[in-house]
């Protein structure tokens, strides 16, 4: 009776109990590992450890110089096309039901999208030689 009404029904607060257990386990694991590694692991405090790690080579100068980040623009363009595809997919699935209204809405969307793409192209996003 108890198992039926309390443990198995999905509507009582008690049905969240497994999640609470899991949460406790997750927190406990993280806490325990941090505690254990902190106290059990060996420590060597030398000044070399504070130096930036350069794969064993002695470091030369500061790495913080301006670099042309083409990755960034490429990533943005990727996100742009990705989002476009995300919107295209539900449209493709419902292509027949949406009819001409859907087609016009999609055309409008693509027009806005191409406007943005045109802008970024004119800004020289795909120009690789500086």
């Amino acid at each position: 009776m108890f198992t039926d009404t309390v443990l198995l029904s999905a509507t009582t607060p008690f049905s969240y109990f497994p999640i609470v257990l899991q949460l406790c386990a997750a927190l406990g694991f993280v806490g325990l590992t941090m505690f254990a590694t902190h106290f059990l692991g060996p420590k060597r405090k030398t000044s070399d450890k504070l130096v930036t790690f350069e794969s064993g080579i002695e470091q030369k100068g500061n790495a913080r110089q301006p670099v042309a980040i083409k990755y960034f623009l490429t990533a943005i363009l990727f996100v742009l096309f990705d989002v476009e595809v995300i919107f295209f997919y539900p449209y493709a699935v419902n292509f027949r039901e949406l009819g001409w209204d859907g087609f016009l809405a999609m055309l409008l969307f693509v027009a806005f999208f191409l406007g943005g793409f045109f802008y970024i192209l004119k800004k020289g996003a795909l120009k690789w030689e500086d």
Partner: protein
């Protein structure tokens, strides 16, 4: 949704088009002046469209939007502000930034976000509008990225606004869980059954956190001073006026639809927020030596005053709030306009010693600043006085005595620091004035004229408020 429902949305569609047009103009490498003028014309077109669709109001565009008189009123104020801010931006960015064009895309997008807030009647449109507003603001605040303050301010706003958005979403989720609807009217229908549920109240509470952050109410005000100081002055004006008008408009609509003010608990929460905002804002401003920070603290106090008009939840309160927002935005626009005009390429005109004896050097500009400070302090004959008066009378009708008493007492404190600045304006000038060559005489002159007109409006509204009040009533009747 059918074609007829698109008509009342016409102003918003044009507003959205403005940023697309700006993008294309930039792509074709047109000059800053062309973009500025086109943006100005597009905003005029929005005003014209609002006037054109006035007969179709009120119109509901289910499920997300409702375009009624109140929305048209607040959108009108927002568009007015962006027209003025756009004008201030020209001279400001032309002198400082080699690439000032993208600024306008972000400006129009943020304006669109605020305008969407005024017409939203659904949590989804509320969230989209708020995000459109804040995401554009992140970039706008840090636009002059070579300044240390700007990046710091942008970063602070980014982190805190993202956190407050998380609160907003969580609150929406909790309310949806209890009421089963995201539409304001749907929530209102379910309200009798759920109003005592703790989850629902928690949801409301977290939404209050997010709204309080956007309006910079105490205790969510800590970002205000740094962000006001760090952002470019036109953007500061934007945050102080448009962003807050939009957020307040959606708060007002939410409260009206679900009759928020009938719950004593909610009234208590908002009273505490209003009282603490008034006290903390005014006290923090007392010894402030930086004009932009001073205006930030004063805006905290002013939105505390505004909440007093929000507390009664009656017609008079809405009217008073609308009037207050109009008076407040004109006042702040003229104050920030003066700061923009006085700022040089290297220095923002923000420390008070720049203003020492300004009246002897540039009498017109100093007079305008003095008038706007008088209006902020609520001295009679200026719009600020009448705005405060209407707030008081709305509060008296519903007998919210404690916030009213605090309003009056803190206004007196406020008087001190506004008069301190005015006193500085009339002080003996130590620094010789370096008259800078104006590079863009046309825009300088038009900024000057705009400032004079704004100051004139402050007087005109302060002496003859009838026309404005009548307009507000006419708009508010359309619902």
């Amino acid at each position: 949704m059918n074609e007829l429902q698109l008509i009342p949305l016409l102003p918003f569609i044009i507003l959205a088009m403005a940023s697309v047009v700006t993008i294309l103009l930039i792509a074709f490498r047109l000059s800053h002046t062309v973009i500025q003028v086109t943006g100005f014309l597009m905003m005029c077109l929005v005003v014209f469209a609002t006037w054109y669709v006035r007969d179709t109001l009120p119109e509901e565009v289910p499920p997300l939007f409702i375009v009624d008189g109140q929305a048209a009123l607040f959108t009108g104020v927002i568009i007015f502000c962006v027209l003025v801010i756009g004008l201030f931006s020209y001279i400001y960015f032309e002198e400082r930034e080699e690439n000032p064009k993208e600024y306008y895309i972000l400006l129009f997008l943020a304006t669109l976000g605020a305008a969407i807030l005024t017409i939203s009647q659904h949590f989804i449109s509320l969230f989209i509008g708020l995000e459109l507003l804040s995401v554009s603001l992140y970039a706008l605040i840090a636009y002059l990225r070579n300044r240390n303050n700007a990046v710091e301010a942008g970063m602070k706003y980014l982190v805190l606004a993202a956190l407050s958005s998380a609160f907003l979403l969580f609150g929406m989720a909790l309310i949806y869980m209890e009421a089963g609807s995201m539409k304001f009217s749907g929530i209102a229908e379910k309200l009798p059954q759920v109003s005592s549920s703790p989850l629902f109240l928690m949801g409301l509470g977290t939404i209050v956190v997010a709204i309080g952050f956007k309006l910079a109410l105490v205790p969510f005000h800590l970002w205000a001073a740094d962000v006001y100081q760090g952002s470019p002055t036109p953007v500061t004006a934007f945050i102080a006026t448009i962003s807050k008008i939009g957020t307040f408009a959606v708060l007002l609509r939410f409260a009206q639809t679900i009759h928020l003010q009938q719950y004593p608990l909610i009234i208590a929460i908002f009273s505490v927020i209003a009282i603490s905002s008034m006290i903390v804002g005014n006290i923090l401003a007392l010894r402030q030596q930086n004009l932009k920070r001073l205006l930030a603290y004063s805006s905290i106090a002013h939105f505390g005053y505004l909440l007093v008009a929000f507390l009664p939840g009656n017609e008079a309160g809405t009217e008073a709030a609308a009037f207050y927002l109009i008076a407040y935005s004109i006042t702040l626009l003229s104050a920030f306009g003066v700061i923009t005009l006085l700022s040089s390429r290297e220095h923002e005109a923000e420390t008070l010693d720049i203003y020492t004896g300004l009246i002897w050097r540039r009498p017109v500009v100093a007079t305008i600043l003095a008038i706007s400070l008088f209006s902020l302090a609520g001295i009679p004959l200026t719009a600020g006085f009448l705005a405060k008066f209407f707030v008081l009378s709305a509060g008296v009708q519903q007998a919210v005595w404690l916030p009213l008493a605090v309003l009056i007492l803190t206004s007196v404190i406020g008087l001190y620091y506004y008069l301190r600045v005015i006193n500085t304006l009339f002080g003996t000038s130590g620094t010789a004035d370096v008259m800078q060559k104006t590079v863009h005489p046309f825009f300088h002159v038009s900024t000057y004229i705009t400032l004079v007109v704004l100051a004139g409006m402050l007087f005109w509204i302060g002496v003859f408020p009838g026309l404005v009040l009548q307009g507000i009533r006419l708009f508010l009747l359309l619902h």
